[in-house]
Each structure stands twice: as C-alpha cells, then as structure tokens.
Subunit: 204 residues, 4 copies
DNA sequence: TATGAATGAGCATTCATTCAT
DNA sequence: GATGAATGAATGCTCATTCAT
C-alpha cells in the first residue's frame, strides 16, 4: 500500500514536472499571453484536460514555475548572504554570478522569469518573494557600508535596484538576442557588471 | 482650400492627440492587454469606432505613443551626445537626469513606456529605435574610454546595458510603487545611479 | 438628433425582441440547458456575438423572457384582483381562464415558463415575483372567506398552492403532450379545474 | 460456489445502494445538473471510477433512484386502488396521504423526485411509469363516477392532473421552503388538498 | 467625421466517461 | 473490485475590427 502510494506519488510528481517543463518551453517561445493551454498539453504530449488534473488554471502553471525556480534564486541568495567568510563585495559578486550564470544553465526558465515575472505586472501577488531578493541585496550592501567597505553616501535601497536592474537588463539582452551570449561574452558581462557596481566606470 | 485643409489637419491632429492621450491614461492604469479599445474611446469621450479612423489598430495606438514620446528621449540623448563641452561622465549624468526626471514630468507616459515597451517584447519591431538609445549610451562610454577618462577594461556594450538597466529598474520601482518617489527620493536616486555607475560602490 | 435617437432606440428594442423571441423558440424546443447561445443567434439570424450586445449572458436572456412575460401574468392577476364587481369565485375563475388561455396564445412562452421557471429552481431569484402571484390568489381566497362565500376551514395559503398546482400541471400536460389541447379540451380543462376547485369532486 | 456468489451479490447490492443513497443526498442538495459524478463518489466515500462499475452513467444513477423509489409510489397506489372496501373518495384521500406523508419519511428522495423527475423533462423515457400513476388516479375517479359518488360532469382525465398538480405543488413548496412543513402544517395540507378536491372551496 | 451595431475568431475551463494498473 | 490518471468533446464569453448609416 505504502509502496503503491509512493509509486503513485512519484508518478504524479513526474507528470507535474513534465507538464511544467513543457509550459516553460511554450511560455519561453510564445509568451504567457500567446500560449494556449492546449499548446502546453501538446508540448507535453498529453491531452489538454490533463493539465487541469495537475494545475488549477493556466495562471497556476506560471505560478508554479515561478515558485519552484524562484525558490532556487532565493535559496542561493540566502546562502550567499549567510556566509560570514565573504565580504559584502564578494557577496554581491556571487549574486551577479549566480544570476547571470543561471542563463547558461536554464535559458528557457530565465526567459520566462524575465519576460513574464520580473518584467511584468503579471505576478504582482508574488512580488513579496521578489521583494525579499531585493532586500537581501540591500542588506548585503548595508552590511558592507556598516563594515566600512562600501560607500556610506549612496542609498542602499536604490543601490539594490541599480544592481538588480543591471543584472536584469543583461539577461533581457540575452533573452531578446541583442547581446552576445557565448561563454566569453558571459564572462565579460559578469566582469562588467561587477566592476561597474563596485568600482564604477571612472578611471583613477 | 489650403486654409480649409490646414484647419482640417489641425482638427485631425487634435483628435489624434485626444485619443492618444486617453490611451496613455488607460494603458497606464490597466496595462495594454487589459485595456479595451472601447475603454480608450470612453476615456476620450468618443465612440470606439472613431479610434479606427485615426489609428489602424490598438497596436498602432501604442506604437504612436511610443514613437512620439520616444522621439523626445531620442532627441534628448542626441543633444547630450552632441555637446562637445560635456565630458563622457557629464553626458552620462545628463542621461540619467533626463530619464529619471521624465517620471516627474509625465508619470503615465513613463509607466506605459516602462511596462509595455521597455519591459515587454510587445514592440520588438520598434527595438531598432530603442537600440539606438543604447548605442548612443555605448558611444558616450566609448568616447570616454577613448578620451582616457573611463576605464578601458569594461565592455562598453555591456556597460550601456548596465546603465540602462539601473535607470529602468528605478523607474519600475516608482511605477510599481515599491520605491519612494518624492522629490528628495528622486534626487537621491539620481545621485545613487550616477555615483555607482561612475565611481562604484567600493569605498576608497 | 432626437429623431435619430428615437429611431435607434426603436431599432435596438426591435433587435432585443428579435433575439428574445428566437430564444423563446429555442428554449421551448431544447430546454435552457441544452440550448447553446449560438443556437439562439442562428435562430435569430445574427452572429452569436450580437446576443452579447443586447444581453449580458445566456441567463440574462432567460431572465428577460421571464420578466416580460411574467409581467403580463402579474398584470392580469392584479386587474382581476382589483375588480370589485367580481366575487372571489369569479376572480378565481378568471385566474384559471387567464392561465390556461395563455397556452393558446403563446404555447412556446408557456412552455419555457413552465419548464424553466415555474418547474425549476433556475430562477429562484425571481421567486419573489412568482410569490406575489401566489399571494394574490391567496388574497382572493381569503377575501372570499371573509365575505362568507368560501369555506373558512381550509387553509388559504395551501389552497393557493392547490389551485396553482392544478393549473400548472394541466399546462405541463399540454407542454409534454400528454393531455389533449384542442379547443374543446381546453374548455373542458377550464371547466374541470374551476369546478373541482370551487365545488369539489363529490356529488351532492 | 453458490454461497460465494450469493455473498458477492449481496456485497454488490450493498455497494450499489451505498452509491445510490449518496447520489440522492447530492442530487437533493445541488440538483442533478450541478452534481458531478465525483461529488457522488466523494459522498459515498469511493473513487469516482467505481460509480461506473455499478452504473452505466450519471443518468443511470438518477434512473435507478427513480425506479426504486417510484416503485414504492406505484406499489402504494396499486394497493389503494385494489382495496374494494374503500370508496373512491377514501382512495383519493389515501393517495394524498401517501404522497404528502412521504415527505416526512424521506425528504431528500422527495426533493430529487420532485425537482429532477416530476418537474423536469429529464426522465421523459420513464414517463410511462409516471403515466401509470396518473391513470390509477384517473381510474379511481372514474370508478367513483361510475359508482355515482363523484360528479360525472368533470373530465376524469383532467381531474387526475388537478389532483396530482395540487399534491406536487405542495411538495414543491416544502422542497423550496416556501411552505411550512411542521407536523401541524402537514396535517393542514392534507386536509386542504383532500377537502378542496372532494368538496371544493365553495361554501354551502 | 462620427456612431455603434454587427461580426466572428479565439480560448480557458468543465466534467462525463474510459481504461491501465 | 477499486483506483484515479487520462481523454476530449462541448460551450459561454470577450473584444478587436469592420461597416452601414
């Protein structure tokens, strides 16, 4: 009985994932608004009715994509934030690497997150979770200011938006194909974002 | 005859503007996707059929909003870029001021531009015009690098995205109400964006 | 201007009626649940979208049918009730005649009213208006009891249900085709309902 | 073998009953159309697939409810009709008592029968069995007319509808909660229906 | 110009029923 | 027998766009 249930649970989770992954690909390609539920089902190779066996609505699919993948971001941010061996500078550097590096790992997911979540009012409800990411960055910056490593004259709050915006815009450039995204370019991007944020453009 | 035509043209232009302005308000409030053509017409105080006398489609209305307002951005960027009396640093500072300052002048327009154009794939066709703005910023940065005032080791292309992203994210914060937008805050935002971009976060 | 508006209003009212009448035929034939909005539109000879120009929903169409036709019943009941020259007996006789006679005038409407309104919980909201009809009958009976013409030992409330049920069941028989509905049969039905209600089955 | 089969049959019958009873409760609460097969299954505490092991379709469940409970009505009517010791009057009185009394015994079943069967075209196929009930009433009335106890000038056919309609409407009132259904009220209802049907409203 | 009636493509969602396990 | 995953037909409603007046 337990064995059967366990097997069923595994099958259920697997199907959910299958449909969710299909949705990621479909949303990434056509955007949430232009994606039909039947597109997702077709991509997953199931009948469209089955989508509703696993998700309450088309919106719920997007929400689940957000939740599971954002959990990954959130987790990463928290781990970085919690490392006492890293200076604020190093923490912010890691944040940039985590975010920009994610594009290499899962471009479709980044595409969906950037297009439908970060850059759209669609998931305002979830904004709280996004807000937390901003707050962690702000906290890292403030930590650096308190430790005397970062400039105290810039507003930590706005600074967190600046860093996030820089990251988000580069990701957007990759998503829209207006920026090169080969490995060398990705390294260059990381370097540029980190350097500007920390040392600025001005030559000394 | 000419006089009559001129009068008619003026009337026509006035109507176009009336409908376009109504659309700005409606798009700003509900977003492009959730705005119905009849909402625009109602806001403008005309029958919805009339919208189609002046615009080919709902999309065309957004395009026109983009074109007219973006022309203003474009114009501003070009003027800044063309001033030989300004160093690259000063030019970039002016760019930030122009963009962030626009929110005070016309929040609804900024809202639409940010939500529906800059942060959405909706106006990909127009990307060329947006691209030009990026290129002007890139050109200013490259100019500074050539003149020996800005660091040569950062990628000018990515750097332009970083600056743009920083600006866009702050505007987004204002649009979504997650950042304070009183006059003092706006000044602080300008300072923060400019300082980070030019001098970085790191204390020296 | 007024002339044009008046003309438009007339056209609008005419279209509403056209669609409503089509709906009556469709509901009468297939029942509310089995009738598609596009069936109504097809019967009316218009595009299905137009139905939504005149009615908020499929339900609203049924409601309007109920409201307009029930107004007729209501009106008739009130007029009968208001005639001081008629005894309670005569008033009840008129009620029976009005109801059973309506089948001859508009069988489809009666069909819809009986099947979808009177005999279904679908328009519970409107029950108040139906309740008023019951109350008028009850009032007539009570009037007869007070005047000493009708038996005081029967419950006027239940009696009103008895009379209404008798009428409704005969109409149902006609609607379902289980009762003959030629003119002679209709007369016989009126006689039977009136006689039983007033004088009973028992021979004296 | 036989013993095993018998045991299995008993178990099968028990399951059928379990599901059928659950369906009665569900249909009574939400109505046939708004009740999902899975609601029935949930109410019965089984998987919804199991419903289809015992019933061919959702309709079949309603049919079975009708058949088993109507058998009770039918049986009662036949027994009353078959009693030579009862006059037509007494037989009709018993019919009224049987029907109205059933509400006290099994309100949910009456609710379903009234809402989904008697007052709806849903079980037209079964109309024959309902027709038989009408015919038995008609036969009782005709018997009374032949015996000289009931008036020969009313149409026995229509009269059976009148009586049935009176009963059905009172039950409907109870089902919809528009009539009082305490014990005293039920007695009053029986009295009123019987008295009107037999002696009429008119005072003598 | 201006109106708003008319059109029809498009789509999410529900749920009875089937079937593999 | 029992489960619940899987299927897919069916349909109300929205709204951009057209067009007669």
């Amino acid at each position: 009985m337990n064995a059967r249930n366990a097997s069923r649970d595994r099958a259920t989770a697997s199907r959910r994932r299958q449909i969710r992954d299909a949705a990621v690909r479909v949303f990434a390609e056509r955007g949430f608004h232009n994606a039909r539920v039947s597109d997702i089902a077709a991509e997953a190779g199931v009948a469209h009715g089955l989508v509703y066996h696993y998700f309450a609505s088309k919106d719920a699919v997007l929400q689940e994509i957000f939740r599971t993948t954002w959990g990954w971001v959130d987790q990463g941010f928290r781990e970085i934030h919690a490392r006492p061996d890293l200076s604020a500078e190093q923490q912010l550097t890691e944040v940039v690497r985590l975010m920009l590096g994610s594009y290499r790992l899962a471009p479709d997911i980044v595409r969906v997150l950037v297009l439908e979540v970060t850059r759209s009012g669609h998931l305002r409800t979830q904004v709280e979770e996004i807000t937390q990411a901003f707050e962690l960055i702000e906290s890292m910056i403030r930590g650096g200011q308190d430790a005397g490593h970062l400039r105290p004259d810039v507003d930590a709050r706005f600074a967190s938006y600046v860093l996030w915006g820089a990251i988000d815009e580069v990701l957007t450039g990759w998503v829209f194909g207006t920026l090169p995204d080969d490995d060398a370019a990705i390294s260059r991007a990381e370097h540029t974002v980190v350097e500007i944020a920390l040392a600025g453009l001005r030559k000394r």
